[in-house]
């Protein structure tokens, strides 16, 4: 018998299945099928004890008054996931070789691969969508005062996520290795180089030397593919953990004035 008690989502009273009548111990195929899923979840949970975490994540309450502005964060994450998936597909064809591979492989993706240009376009425009969403999400957090106690750390992580997103867009720009990406990146790297103290070192690091050379593209590729996405993924996880732990804010104009004794007990 399954031991796991998954919490039921709230459903209207009328739809709640009636309890079984006593004296019907025989299990039909329907009952077995019903329990197959629970058994499978049970099997995993016996080994991982993840159901508690899932319950903690999914069945927490969101305060009253939350509105559509509160979907911007998850939408940003969704845009990131879309970038990750389309990026993986592009990586299957892409060759980070400045001398001959990079541009030709992107040409190949655009002209030969089934839906290649479509996926390339999704990756390219998805970056714009993600940047817009992350700024909107930040604006919401700012104007609702949601960065204040106790969510200061989550704000700081959010700013890091913003910088990493901009880094992704900057490093991704070079990868197709067409004229536009090449020259815009040179200007970008030169701009970094004007910074005080670290500027020249940062430029040298990005170029992989004093000149824009063969290693530059591989370096941008590694930053774009490995370093930043890994950081982004990890920090998004931490960001989400804190959101679940601290709870999303209620809109600042919603007040809890009319609460009853019952509410207080629940809290």
């Amino acid at each position: 018998m399954p031991k796991l008690k998954l919490p039921l989502p709230p459903i209207p009273d009328k739809v709640v299945p009636l309890p079984k009548r006593p004296g019907q111990p025989k299990q039909g195929p329907v009952d077995l099928a019903k329990e197959a899923g629970i058994s499978a979840v049970d099997w995993v949970d016996e080994r991982t004890s993840l159901s508690g975490a899932a319950r903690w994540m999914m069945f927490r309450k969101v305060p009253k008054g939350t509105n559509w502005f509160y979907t911007l964060g998850s939408a940003t994450m969704f845009a990131f996931l879309s970038q990750a998936v389309t990026g993986v597909f592009l990586a299957m064809y892409y060759r980070p070789d400045a001398a001959s591979g990079a541009y030709e492989s992107m040409r190949y993706v655009n002209d030969e691969v089934f839906l290649g240009e479509f996926v390339h376009g999704m990756h390219k425009w998805g970056s714009s969508v993600m940047v817009i969403l992350i700024f909107l999400h930040m604006a919401r957090t700012f104007f609702f005062g949601a960065y204040k106690y106790p969510r200061e750390l989550n704000w700081v992580i959010g700013v890091v996520l913003l910088i990493l997103t901009m880094t992704m867009s900057f490093t991704g720009y070079l990868l197709p290795f067409d004229q536009r990406s090449y020259w815009a990146t040179i200007v970008g790297v030169n701009i970094n180089g004007t910074g005080p103290l670290v500027g020249p070192f940062l430029s040298d690091f990005l170029r992989g030397g004093p000149e824009f050379g063969a290693t530059t593209l591989s370096r941008f590729y590694a930053i774009h593919m490995l370093l930043v996405p890994g950081l982004l993924g990890a920090l998004i996880g931490f960001h989400l953990y804190l959101v679940a732990k601290l709870g999303t804010t209620a809109p600042p104009w919603v007040s809890a004035e009319k609460y009853t004794k019952k509410d207080e007990e629940q809290a």
């Binding site: 998850s74 005062g145 900057f170 067409d178 709870g247 209620a250 600042p252 809890a256």
Partner: protein, 250 residues
């Protein structure tokens, strides 16, 4: 926020939370719908705007237009607002870094417990001002375009020197126009006024030799034309010649 205010907030928040709805399925449903909208937007943009691949990168080229992705326009435009060369590092790195630090430390200097935007006039005004400034700079950056043509009369002192001279002058003008110089420099009525200095009468200030020097060994963020000089010296000579003729006509 002092201890009392913190406790007050946590208390009020727990009540609001108790009065709220479960994350699943209510918030999840909204998030899922929003995700569909995002997906649809990305797919539509991909279908309508495509993924154009320009000509292959060529370090020797003279037809590039160094334009960043549109959401970097405001940073690019900032370079044009702050023009004196000694302040360039301030524009390129200084202002963005200061903004980033201000953003990072926001919860640590804005410590009042008030959360309503209309009761935080300074924060709200600053936020709206920042959005407007970024919007305006992005718009200006987008408007500036990437000119690849220079509309200029050939001065009389050139045409007086005969056909070969005019030919070289015109060829040089074309090279300059297609090299993207106008993205950062102004030449008479053409191009952007900054971040680079105006080139309308550059030859009054610099001899041709010095102009060539600057092209090969520029101060950042200007890209170097060394590879052009090495691979297509003819074009490079024309370019220097044209720039060397940019004088004020008496």
């Amino acid at each position: 926020m002092n201890k009392q205010e913190k406790e007050q907030y946590l208390r009020e928040y727990s009540v609001l939370k108790a009065q709220g709805k479960p994350f699943f399925p209510y918030a999840v449903a909204k998030d899922a719908l929003m995700a569909c909208v995002v997906m649809l937007a990305i797919i539509l943009m991909s279908l309508i705007l495509g993924a154009e691949l320009g000509p292959k990168a060529d370090p020797t080229t003279t037809t590039y237009t160094p334009r960043p992705e549109w959401y970097f326009f405001f940073l690019f435009e900032l370079l044009k607002v702050i023009k004196p060369p000694e302040l360039v590092p301030l524009a390129t790195i200084g202002v963005p870094t200061i903004c980033m630090i201000l953003l990072f430390l926001l919860p640590f200097y804005d410590r009042s417990p008030e959360r309503r935007p209309e009761k935080r006039p300074i924060a709200t005004t600053a936020g709206i001002f920042t959005i407007c400034a970024m919007g305006l700079l992005t718009y200006l950056g987008a408007e500036a375009g990437a000119p690849t043509r220079i509309e200029m009369e050939t001065p009389e002192r050139i045409s007086a020197q005969g056909g070969a001279m005019v030919e070289q002058y015109e060829a040089g003008k074309l090279v300059v126009a297609q090299s993207g110089c106008l993205a950062c420099h102004k030449i008479a009525e053409n191009g952007n006024d900054g971040p680079g200095p105006e080139l309308t009468d550059i030859a009054d200030r610099l001899p041709a030799q010095a102009i060539a020097q600057t092209l090969v060994n520029p101060t950042s963020p200007m890209p170097s034309f060394r590879s052009l000089q090495e691979k297509e010296p003819e074009k490079f000579r024309n370019m220097v010649m044209f720039l060397g003729q940019l004088k004020k006509d008496e």
